[in-house]
């Protein structure tokens, strides 16, 4: 299984995962827990109660100085000028072709201080990219601070109540995609109302040396409410039900932000950002291929890399697919020609030589009930 040349990196919580009996697998250069009690059980716990995730493998890159905002505006698609202190936004770090260097969360810590949360496998690439392109707008401090943060996610309808037991910050005052700095279980950290599961929840940044202490405090506080530790397996099935894209699967340097159907993270009114001319043109003329959500009609599971076949020709590719534990259906995402992208359109997927029927459905597949 482990075919990486360099030794796998371990998060500050590695020993805690092993002690809890997690099954560990290599992921993005890290030795990460894929499951504890089982993907389905963990997935369902997050939909009905709460799950605890170690996402410390995610990277952090900070930009600071008087040109910090201009730099963020230049390298990412969304309009960071709309952010206030304590607010975050989903965005894309783009190439001049309008494709993804990475998808990122942009946090405004202060007027001249921003933090980007980036994908684990892209940390070095993103850091090099930003170091090369952010200074195009002027001098800016750029720091890869990934080693300074452990990141713990608590997700699910019970998440807020559980985290609230451990902090004096009134979490009810923090809106979705906002965050606050403060103490949790006696440790100074940052509590962000964000996540990658389709549920309400929190992502908690703490210094790595306190990660195990916070993890155990959350486990203890949450267990009576049904919180369970969750691995990357459930994280993947949860995010897919919520139709959240996964870098390397659903998006990469060959797909543009519009082809990935993420026009809502583009600040169209910005004067400039990297890749804007391509995206402006695609917005005006339309895209040739587009990501869609689909559901299998035949009893089969489409997986990443399977071909989309229409009228005997391979016309697209499945980017993500699984049988999801909550919806109990085989669903997925695929790039297809725009002519096949309308909801209700049928196509087939080449599953190990057998053609299985699928139909385009609206995304997200799952939307949490309004509370």
């Amino acid at each position: 299984m482990n075919d990486t040349a360099s030794p796998l990196k371990k998060t500050a919580l590695h020993a805690a995962h092993v002690a809890l009996g997690a099954r560990m697998v290599p992921y993005g250069g890290w030795d990460m827990p894929v499951e504890y009690s089982g993907i389905s059980a963990e997935h369902l716990a997050v939909r009905s109660a709460a799950g605890l995730f170690d996402v410390s493998h995610m990277g952090q890159i900070e930009l600071a100085g008087e040109n910090a905002l201009a730099a963020i505006q230049h390298i990412t698609t969304n309009d960071a000028a709309k952010l206030q202190n304590g607010q975050a936004q989903y965005s894309a770090l783009t190439t001049p072709e309008g494709t993804f260097v990475d998808d990122v969360l942009v946090y405004r810590f202060a007027e001249r201080h921003y933090l980007l949360v980036v994908n684990a496998s892209n940390i070095e690439k993103d850091h090099a990219w930003i170091a090369a392109h952010a200074p195009e707008v002027g001098e800016v401090a750029i720091v890869n601070s990934s080693d300074r943060y452990a990141l713990i996610a608590v997700q699910g309808p019970k998440a807020r109540g559980i985290v609230q037991k451990l902090t004096a910050i009134d979490l009810s005052t923090i809106k979705y995609y906002w965050f606050a700095h403060g103490e949790i279980a006696g440790v100074r950290g940052t509590l962000s109302r964000t996540g990658y599961t389709g549920e309400d929840g929190w992502e908690i940044f703490v210094p790595p040396q306190f990660a195990t202490q916070i993890w155990n405090a959350l486990l203890e506080a949450g267990t009576p409410d049904g919180l369970v530790p969750c691995g990357l397996g459930a994280r993947d099935t949860l995010r897919l039900e919520a139709a959240m894209r996964l870098y390397g699967n659903d998006m990469d340097e060959t797909s543009t932000v519009l082809e990935c159907d993420l026009g809502w993270i583009v600040g169209w009114n910005k004067a400039e950002f990297t890749g804007k001319s391509v995206l402006d043109r695609q917005k005006a003329d339309g895209v040739a291929k587009k990501i869609v959500g689909f559901e299998m009609l035949d009893r089969a599971i489409a997986r990443h890399g399977h071909g989309v076949v229409h009228d005997g020709a391979t016309v697209g590719v499945v980017t993500s697919g699984t049988h999801t534990p909550f919806l109990k259906k085989a669903i997925g995402m695929a790039y297809v020609p725009t002519a096949l992208a309308a909801v209700g359109t049928e196509f087939t997927v080449d599953i190990r030589g057998r053609l299985a029927r699928a139909v385009v459905v609206p995304m997200p597949f799952y939307k949490r009930p309004k509370s």
């Binding site: 089982g38 993907i39 089969a300």
Partner: protein, 123 residues
């Protein structure tokens, strides 16, 4: 852990011999590696199996795996209950037979592992 009335392969299938017929399933170790099973694709009654060749696929939430025939022969029965309850493979792997096979040769059976040898393999 591993019932002594079953025979095993290094590909983590088991066979329960009953006269000239063998029932085939996957082992506890295999289901543990796969995780939550959601789909099993099995051959039809009458299909011919060749030892070591794939006869179907099994999918869990996270991955798909091939099923390898532990014995040669002809499929006489398919466990239709697994279509609606594939998770039985997780909860009771050694009771969840997938297919029954009319043995082509008893020599195949001699080549299978006993419970002790199989268990040693999974350590």
């Amino acid at each position: 852990m591993y019932p002594t009335n079953l025979k095993y392969t290094k590909d983590h299938e088991w066979v329960r011999i009953d006269g000239g017929t063998g029932a085939v399933g996957i082992t506890h170790f295999a289901q543990q590696q796969l995780g939550d099973v959601v789909y099993v694709d099995l051959p039809e009654v009458g299909a011919t199996l060749t030892v070591g060749q794939t006869f179907g696929t099994i999918e869990s939430v996270k991955a798909v795996s091939e099923l390898y025939a532990p014995i040669s022969g002809t499929v006489t029965e398919v466990n239709a209950a697994l279509k609606d309850r594939p998770d039985a493979i997780n909860s009771a792997p050694h009771d969840s037979w997938m297919i029954k096979v009319q043995l082509a040769s008893t020599a195949d059976v001699d080549a299978l592992l006993d419970a002790g040898a199989y268990e040693a393999l999974t350590q």
